[in-house]
């Protein structure tokens, strides 16, 4: 009888102790997690649950009960989170999970960032004016507005509102020289600069290109000059190819896939396909560059509807049909720009279809990673860049006291896009009705940069981005913020949704690959990102 009482008393005592422990954890979580929730993302692979912590950039694998308690803590009021967990698990499991989480918070400084502030370029880079004056990196020249092609998804088509229409203006020699003068005068703190030739179709003005290269080489003597040209390839001649090779150009040729896919969108003004001519141009380049083709000749591809895994497989067959074309990592594949003729279809389907391109690339890359299949240029180009961005991210022992303006560059430092008539735009991607940032006569308009591109843009983004778990992984920038010539928060936040979903999937793929072979992605530490 006495024994029975003792054991009952001990049971009560144990329950009381356990209650006290639970209470202690409750108090700890209340203190730490009350108010806005910390910036973090929970995600799963097939094998495990993970926590990505925004403040430290750390990724932590979690056992199931720990993951579930974290899920509760990050989505419910603390008391409810604990009560809900205890309704589905025993006390011992709670104490184990809560103790492990508390320990992780205390030793790894995770879950301590609730708001990424102060936020913005002007906050953490107060010397931006000096950088604009001294450290310009890339000058992009719109050699001509003219183009013999009329691709169905082109941003210069009349039915697309965000850009100029197809034009006939060519850049004059004096405009080109003055633009290069500007680069010279505003890159004195750099040893290396880049000049990128853009259009329309820049090869229409080949003599101007030759003059620009000659002028830049003489003016920027002593600096390394990286030259790049983006072309549709259809006007290329062996002489042009030799010239580009001689001057070590990086050449990007626009081809969307095998002939029937390419020619369904990439047509000339008469509606004729361009594939055969573009491939001929590409052949001239490969012949001229020889072994350097893999490194210096790349593709600019647009993934066109109807979107499907089958279509991607067909696009990927380009490399089987033309085995002499370069592989390598110089491949850029994108969806058509939202707002072109495919706008509604693309916007409606982009999330799901993005998964297709992403998922297709992941599956192909994973098969290579696990030794089941060979590598593929498209899968490698997409996955290696995404995985390298995660692999190379800095890990902080504690959250920094400042955060950064999503994926934006400093206007006027990273690049300046010079239109055919000598006006300065932020870059070649930004909407044509977004305010100009200067011109070749007056240089950069510091007021517009301060007021609009830093001030107003930061004010628009700060409330959203400073509370976003993906703020350290985001690649959105000014190009996704302008609609009809103005900053448009709604337009931006629509894009945010896709960005976050994309990053979440990449985190999942990244951890899945590492589960199979933890060190298998280490080679990506050395991949150069651009």
């Amino acid at each position: 009888m006495a024994e029975g009482l003792n054991s009952k008393t001990m049971g009560i005592q144990a329950a009381e102790n356990s209650d006290k422990e639970i209470k202690k954890f409750q108090t700890f979580f209340n203190r730490l997690l009350s108010g806005p929730k910390p910036l973090a993302k929970l995600f799963r692979t097939d094998q495990s649950g993970y926590l990505y912590d925004t403040g430290t950039n750390k990724i932590i694998r979690c056992d199931e009960p720990i993951f579930q308690l974290l899920e509760n803590l990050l989505s419910m009021e603390e008391e409810q989170a604990v009560a809900d967990f205890l309704a589905n698990h025993d006390r011992e499991t709670f104490l184990y999970a809560a103790g492990t989480i508390k320990n992780a918070i205390e030793t790894e400084n995770i879950l301590s960032l609730k708001q990424a502030l102060p936020f913005g370029i002007s906050k953490h880079c107060p010397n931006y004016e000096e950088l604009i004056d001294s450290s310009l990196e890339i000058m992009v020249l719109e050699i001509t507005e003219s183009c013999p092609m009329r691709c169905a998804y082109c941003v210069y088509n009349e039915d697309f509102k965000g850009k100029r229409n197809h034009g006939t203006n060519h850049m004059s020699l004096s405009t080109a020289y003055r633009a290069i003068d500007y680069l010279h005068q505003h890159s004195f703190k750099r040893d290396k600069v880049a000049i990128s030739l853009y259009g329309g179709e820049p090869t229409l003005q080949f003599p101007l290109i030759q003059s620009c290269v000659s002028y830049a080489n003489s003016l920027l003597k002593g600096k390394q000059i990286d030259l790049t040209i983006t072309t549709n390839g259809i006007l290329l001649t062996p002489e042009m190819a030799e010239f580009f090779c001689k001057h070590d150009f990086n050449v990007y040729v626009s081809i969307d896939g095998p002939e029937e896919i390419n020619d369904s969108y990439r047509v000339d003004a008469k509606g004729g396909g361009s594939f055969q001519r573009a491939v001929q141009g590409l052949k001239y380049l490969v012949d001229a560059y020889g072994k350097l083709s893999n490194e210096k000749v790349g593709f600019s591809m647009v993934y066109t509807p109807p979107f499907s895994g089958k279509r991607i497989d067909r696009i990927a067959e380009l490399w089987d049909e033309l085995p002499w074309i370069p592989g390598g990592t110089n491949l850029n594949i994108t969806y058509p720009t939202p707002g072109t003729i495919l706008a509604e279809k693309v916007l409606k389907e982009s999330l799901e279809e993005d998964k297709n391109l992403q998922l297709w690339s992941y599956e192909r890359y994973r098969d290579k990673y696990t030794g089941k299949d060979e590598s593929h240029p498209i899968a490698d180009a997409i996955m290696e860049k995404a995985m390298a961005q995660l692999m190379q991210r800095p890990i902080f022992s504690e959250p920094l006291d400042q955060k950064f303006l999503n994926g934006c560059c400093i206007p006027g430092v990273r690049r300046v896009f010079v239109t055919a008539d000598g006006r300065f735009r932020l870059c070649e991607k930004i909407s044509s009705d977004a305010p100009l940032i200067g011109n070749i006569n007056d240089g950069i308009d510091m007021d517009v940069i301060k007021k609009l591109y830093l001030g107003e843009y930061e004010s628009m983004c700060a409330p959203v981005c400073s509370r976003c778990w993906a703020v350290n992984l985001c690649n959105s920038c000014f190009t996704e913020a302008f609609q009809d010539g103005r900053l448009d928060p709604k337009y931006m936040t629509n894009r945010c949704y896709n960005t976050k979903k994309t990053q979440e999937r990449y985190l999942e793929y990244y951890c899945s690959l590492r589960e199979y072979k933890p060190e298998g992605l280490n080679y990506l530490y050395k991949l150069k990102l651009s």
């Binding site: 750390k58 990724i59 932590i60 694998r61 979690c62 056992d63 720990i66 184990y96 999970a97 103790g99 492990t100 989480i101 320990n103 992780a104 030793t107 790894e108 953490h124 880079c125 950088l131 990196e137 703190k189 750099r190 040893d191 290396k192 600069v193 880049a194 390394q224 961005q389 995660l390 692999m391 190379q392 991210r393 800095p394 890990i395 902080f396 022992s397 920094l400 400042q402 955060k403 950064f404 303006l405 994926g407 934006c408 560059c409 400093i410 430092v413 990273r414 992984l473 690649n475 920038c477 951890c511 590492r514 933890p518 992605l521 280490n522 530490y525 050395k526 150069k528 990102l529 651009s530």
Partner: protein
């Protein structure tokens, strides 16, 4: 201590810190996200070193050197 070789820092067996990234331990000195190169914490692609003072490979090295007298061993 080599930053990327550190232990699981006493995390319980139910949690495992993924050993990746470029770990910056100690007090962060002047580093920040690269704003010259859109799209992230780009490493190694900065022409002539990064103007914005972000963590390019050299500044990550410098930071760890300053704190621990070592450079990132595997980068």
């Amino acid at each position: 201590m080599k930053s990327r070789e550190r232990k699981n820092n006493g995390l319980g067996k139910g949690m495992e810190l993924i050993r990746d990234g470029i770990e910056l331990t100690g007090k962060i000195k002047g580093g920040r996200r690269c704003v010259c190169s859109p799209g992230g914490w780009s490493m190694g692609n900065q022409l002539g070193g990064c103007a914005c003072g972000c963590f390019g490979p050299s500044s990550a090295e410098d930071n760890n050197k300053a704190n621990f007298g070592i450079a990132n061993p595997e980068v």
